[in-house]
């Protein structure tokens, strides 16, 4: 029965994959053109939406959902404890990815200043769990988010607990669209960690991220995979049964499979250099790299 169900899902995924492959590359551009029309809605931030598009409403819902978690963001035993422990694998992933691309100053490799001198943009930083970690490795991090309470929480956390990072980390309440317009080709790396699954218009979003990236720069994405096992474990069990993740955090229809993501990145002029799978061992709150990408995956791609 399970095998059958899995088989069905694989079938669905493969079908999607093939439709995607068959699509002309410019399709994404067309789509982003169409969505440029509603770009103002991405600027939502604190002001009410001007255009009443569905996508914008959805985005707003996501922001509000995460805004409500602001006060619990930094509780290591709280609802976001999984994000805290995820740092133990995602920061080394980003660090080693950047070291392997020779962006880093050789004399800092193997020291706590390994990312010294690198400009990193983190999109959707939330309360800054990943941001502070990168700042602690001496990177200059600009971190943006649309949730006002989240940015407030992030700023107050750095003031209270990590004042030494204030010169390294810069939080902004801003959309990627407006930020990338002002910072074209500025960053050595753009990080989209546990964010893309909350975005409606992925082509548009990734395009904006890439605009802010230097040619040859790295884009790091970590997210859930669109597989049956993830649907059962990652959404139904994690949100509703075991309450590992706050209810309503993830939406199946917004999750993008690793194949679709690769095709998308490829069509936008990126080369995927690393694709890793990872899983959550919730009973000990730790994450593990795996060959299998069925649960979650991390991508490191280079802007050509």
């Amino acid at each position: 029965m399970i095998a059958k169900f899995r088989g069905f899902c694989v079938y669905v995924i493969h079908n999607n994959y093939h439709t995607l492959l068959k699509r002309p590359v410019k399709h994404f551009n067309e789509e982003s053109q169409r969505l440029l029309a509603i770009k103002s809605s991405f600027n939502a931030g604190d002001q009410p939406l001007a255009s009443d598009s569905k996508a914008a409403q959805n985005l707003n819902k996501e922001v509000i959902h995460h805004n409500h978690l602001a006060s619990e963001w930094w509780d290591q035993n709280g609802p976001l404890k999984g994000l805290h422990s995820l740092n133990q694998i995602r920061i080394p992933f980003i660090r080693d990815g950047l070291v392997s691309r020779n962006y880093t100053n050789k004399k800092f490799i193997g020291t706590s200043k390994v990312l010294e001198g690198l400009d990193i943009l983190e999109v959707g930083c939330g309360g800054g769990i990943l941001t502070e970690g990168l700042g602690r490795l001496s990177a200059n991090v600009t971190a943006i988010d649309l949730g006002e309470s989240l940015i407030q929480e992030a700023v107050s956390h750095i003031n209270d607990f990590s004042p030494e990072l204030k010169s390294k980390v810069n939080y902004k309440l801003e959309s990627i669209e407006s930020h990338s317009k002002k910072n074209l080709g500025k960053y050595d790396a753009v990080i989209i960690s546990e964010v893309i699954e909350h975005i409606d218009d992925k082509p548009e979003f990734i395009t904006n991220c890439l605009d802010a990236l230097k040619p040859g720069g790295s884009i790091f994405i970590t997210t859930l995979n669109k597989t049956a096992i993830l649907w059962v474990c990652g959404i139904i069990l994690a949100e509703n049964v075991f309450k590992l993740v706050p209810e309503g955090t993830h939406h199946w229809n917004k999750i993008i499979s690793h194949r679709d993501m690769q095709v998308l990145l490829d069509s936008l002029g990126c080369q995927v250099v690393v694709l890793n799978g990872y899983v959550y061992e919730f009973w000990k709150n730790s994450w593990l790299w795996t060959k299998n990408t069925d649960f979650c995956y991390a991508i490191h791609a280079i802007k050509r």
């Binding site: 409500h68 006060s71 290591q76 133990q88 602690r136 929480e153 607990f161």
Partner: protein, 449 residues
Amino acid sequence: MFSVLRFSTIKNLRNVRTFASSTSNHFDIIIAGGGLVGTSLACALSKNKILSERNVLLLEGAPPFKGFECGEYGNRVSALNNNTVDFFKNIGVWEKISAARFKPVKQMQVWDASSNASITFNHDNFSENVAYIIENDLVLDSVYKELESAKNVQIKNLAKIEDVDLEGLATKSVKLKGGEEFTCDLLIGADGVNSLVRKQMKVDTYTHNYNEMGLVATLELDGNACDNSVAWQRFLPTGPVALLPLNENKSSLVWSTTPEMAKKLQSLPADEFVDELNKAFVKEYPKNEFVSNALRVLDTIMNSDSQSSRQYPPKVRSVVERSRACFPLGFMHSSSYVRSGVALVGDAAHRIHPLAGQGVNLGFGDVKCLVEVLADGVYGGATLSDKLVLLKYEKDRLVHNVPLMLGIHGIQSLYSSSFSPLVLLRSLGLQITQNAPPLKNLFMKKAMG
């Protein structure tokens, strides 16, 4: 609105750190206790490329260390295993120790006074040493000398800790007698078996009093002790007595026995004490006929000869004046080694019977592991106080320490009895292990690294 309200309450509850870091009394790491484990931890922190820029404060209650001279041997010695020696090599301390003096042990012989069961531990053809006997003062001296060049470590002597406050979210604070206060991101308790840091962590501890005292002394051996590279240990009904070689004609004594007997031995005139000691190694204790028969049968089955291959330890000629000292023995294990911003190492976390000489090796193992885990965490962008990182240290060490501690505790309990079935069990166990190389190698690997 709701979230904003909650947000402000949380903020008020915070122990804001700006105050602490604005004063010069803030350190990244404070180590409470400058014994063998605490000082070597400071040294290891200064040698690690990732951690060497963190400010470390080492608090020690005693006056500055008086130094070490190669005169008469000290009475407190440790049997360091190969893992510990490798660790010392890595932190640059071994060079100093080996330039002074140390005694490699090529073989250990352990036997039971209530039966003739015995076991010897050595590497094939004595190719490697099983342990190194080194005076504690020499280790301390070498570590302190190495610390002189450590830019990131400050040592504060005569620093008696009055209280530690572990409740602060951002920083932990230490208050000294005399009123001085220091704060830190990470407080490490290396303050021994009565650790104040551990008490303030409010963790459960399991303790057991063996009702035994350890008597130590420095001994001179009778003329022909060959190269004196065997460590001897005999289990008497009152507790184990051990001779650890210091050089060709000197050995160090560790004699675990009842408190009354220990006190008596300590105050005996030197010549009577030496007689008692020599007797302890050769005296025949009543043997259980059944156990002796069982051992003979086992010998036949395993085609070995436990009775004739027995070597005896060298005869003790005299005891060095004023080298006799007593200390109480006990078992203690802390249920947890860490909490956010706090970690325990060495005797502060665990204490065992000296019968296998493992106590201090466990402590150095803690230090090595903690430094590796912290460096890994910091290189991964974590703070020093990150509980997720510290838990890795705890997990690694529990997996290593608990089986070893239970094993040693088990051996101690097993050998403190004269109850025949237990004597039979331990004698057969020892004899089987002696004749089953894989089993023996497993023990050696566990205890000797």
